[in-house]
Amino acid sequence: MAILVDRKTRVLIQGITGAQGTFHSASMLKYGTKVVAGTSPGKGGEQVNGIPVYDSVKEAKEAQGANASVIFVPAPFAADSAFEAIDSGLNPVVIITEHLPVQDEIRVIHAAKQKGIYIVGPNTPGVIAPGLKQKLGIMPGHVFADGPVGLMSRSGTLTYEIAAGITNAGIGISTAIGLGGDPCVGLTPLEGIKLFEKDKKTKAVVLVGEIGGDAEERAAAYIKENVQIPVVGFIAGRTAPPGKRMGHAGAIISGSTGTADAKIKALKDAGVQVAEKPSDVGRLLKMQL
């Protein structure tokens, strides 16, 4: 199947009347995703791309049976939107918006955890399950073919690059998840790998990490002790200098922590095959599948 989404996933777009929400809801519909409703307070009753718009998440859920949300709302209001989705029990809640205050992120992640809801992001391209034609985000659907590989990444375009490589190698993807480029994000690589392990369709996992924090090391420790299926890794930022923020807010080597070398070492110690270049990921997967 897939993780986080299934055939019954009915998507709500929060902030559907904005430029991003309008553009990407059309693209998601075209991909085949069941986008059933949108919200935009004060614009209830309108339609965007034929999708009915409601004033509140509660109304959208009651009227259309929405059970997952994708948030395009601008940063100052994104946390409020997430709380609204969490309160209505939508799961997962995918926060595409970037530049959220970290204090908001912490509160949202905590509130979701209390209710057993997965937050993906913020600052993420979203979630895509090619076999189910479910896209909760902004990825270009055509680079993702259906197949047995679970893909997790902190980046956007690098995910597409690696997904295209996997597709070109004649393999495919069960679910690809953008974890988000911020220091504090909802779904972590560790939680992601636990979900992929339980998914019958997923036969291998690809973890694309980058400098900053130690989420990859934490995932590696779990992989070493528990994970039976093959895992392939790639870490971006081997040549990044310490102390410089490399685009993503979370991509920074602070002192001696968060280096690519430490992550690569932890993954290798856990038996993970680590690719030198993005294009090697497909080859390494082929050897193991």
Binding site: P101, A111, Q114, G156, P183, T188, E210, A251
Partner: protein, 381 residues
């Protein structure tokens, strides 16, 4: 955004956090006046947004107003870590019984704020973590409940304080936590927090960094803060104004890509083929031709650049727009260094057609692009 010590202490005072008596001086004469007002031996401290100022000579003690004036004259006009000093704080010299470390920051793995404290203050927390990790006490704050009084007291107790010292230190943590929440602080450190011989806790230093993403809701605070422009070169300023992530490095190949992860990976692959990047330039998502042109122009402003590598994975970014931007940059500015282009994804064929018509070649993969640019740069270098 990093605040100066004096700005942080203004916030502390308003919030009731105890700080030593004193104030700001921008001239040696003002420093003498401050010292006279205090009427006791003072410390004169450089106001710079960098650590290690003590080691750089930016902290001096003075027994009299005229000594304070001399100290300020020496410190003002210094450069510390290449940053100019144009103000000092003059504060009462404290009668120190103990130096303590206190801080609040974000634990990105736990997705929680964490209080950090140590009875062994004075040295940097990094050094302390290496030399005496057992002396660092941490407590995560529950995001739903916030910080309770008993937790703050337990922090003080775990740090080794007893009796009458527990209350004031716990109170210090409570007030600091409140400042963190109210002002969207992502990192605060008081090192040292001084326990005086007469039993008072005073913030002798203050570091306060506010979350850049939250600045929009602190307009009032920002009004009161005079911020000298951060030292940025023209290229960094230009890139920032256009919302591009731009980092200068030591090599000679400018890497212009879309997306932070892809840009980092491109730098890495260039290095695998024996090249060295000069530039990390992430155009961001959905760039149009104008923006691509701008990115190339900014990259070429850096004199170290001997070659340009454009690597685009089209998603929201369209390859036809990228191609138009490249053609425009060549036509309007002129590109006088070797350039390799790799772009795939959205509208790739149209983009390739535009490049071909303009007589610009392109490659299909990142690896080809990296190996080719490394070869070309060898020829010109």
């Amino acid at each position: 955004m990093k605040l100066f010590e004096h700005e942080a202490k203004d916030i502390f005072r308003v919030s009731g956090l105890p700080t030593p008596p004193g104030g700001l001086a921008r001239t040696p004469e003002e420093a003498a006046t401050r010292a006279r007002e205090i009427g006791k031996p003072v410390v004169v401290k450089a106001q710079v947004l960098t650590g290690k100022r003590g080691k750089a000579g930016g902290v001096k003690f003075a027994d009299t107003p005229s000594d304070a004036e001399t100290a300020a004259r020496e410190i003002l006009g210094m450069r510390i870590n290449d940053m100019p000093v144009d103000a000092v704080i003059v504060e009462e010299k404290l009668d120190i019984a103990q130096e303590i470390y206190v801080g609040i920051t974000i634990d990105r793995n736990e997705r929680k704020y964490v209080l950090i404290g140590s009875a062994a203050g004075g040295m940097s927390i990094e050094e302390l973590a290496v030399e005496h990790p057992e002396k660092i006490i941490k407590h995560h704050v529950d995001p739903g409940l916030g910080l309770s009084g008993y937790e703050a007291r337990n922090m003080a107790i775990d740090m080794g304080f007893r009796g009458k010292q527990i209350g004031p230190l716990a109170d210090f943590f409570m007030k600091l936590w409140s400042i963190v929440q109210v002002h969207d602080v992502e990192l605060t450190e008081i090192n040292p927090l001084i326990l005086t011989k007469d039993g008072r806790f005073l913030a002798a230093d203050a570091r306060l960094n506010i979350d850049d993403n939250a600045l929009y809701r602190h307009k009032k605070l920002l009004e009161g803060i005079k911020r000298e422009p951060v030292e940025q070169n023209a290229r960094e300023r230009e890139a920032e104004q256009h919302g591009m992530a731009y980092v200068e490095l030591e090599g000679n190949i400018a890497c212009i890509c879309n997306g932070a992860g892809l840009t980092m990976a491109t730098l890495d692959v260039v290095s695998l083929y024996g090249g060295k990047a000069s530039t990390f330039l992430d155009l961001g998502g959905g760039s149009d031709a104008e923006r691509v042109k701008m990115g190339i122009e900014i990259a070429l402003m850096y004199p170290q650049v001997k070659a340009v590598l454009v690597n685009i994975m089209g998603g929201i970014t369209r390859c036809d727009e990228v191609a138009k931007g490249i053609v425009a940059a060549r036509k309007e500015r002129g590109i006088d260094v070797p350039m390799v282009i790799r772009m795939v994804g959205t509208n790739e064929e149209e983009g390739q057609r535009i490049l071909t018509e303009a007589g610009i070649s392109f490659v299909r993969t990142m690896e080809e692009a990296a190996s080719k640019i490394v070869e070309l740069v060898k020829e010109v270098a």
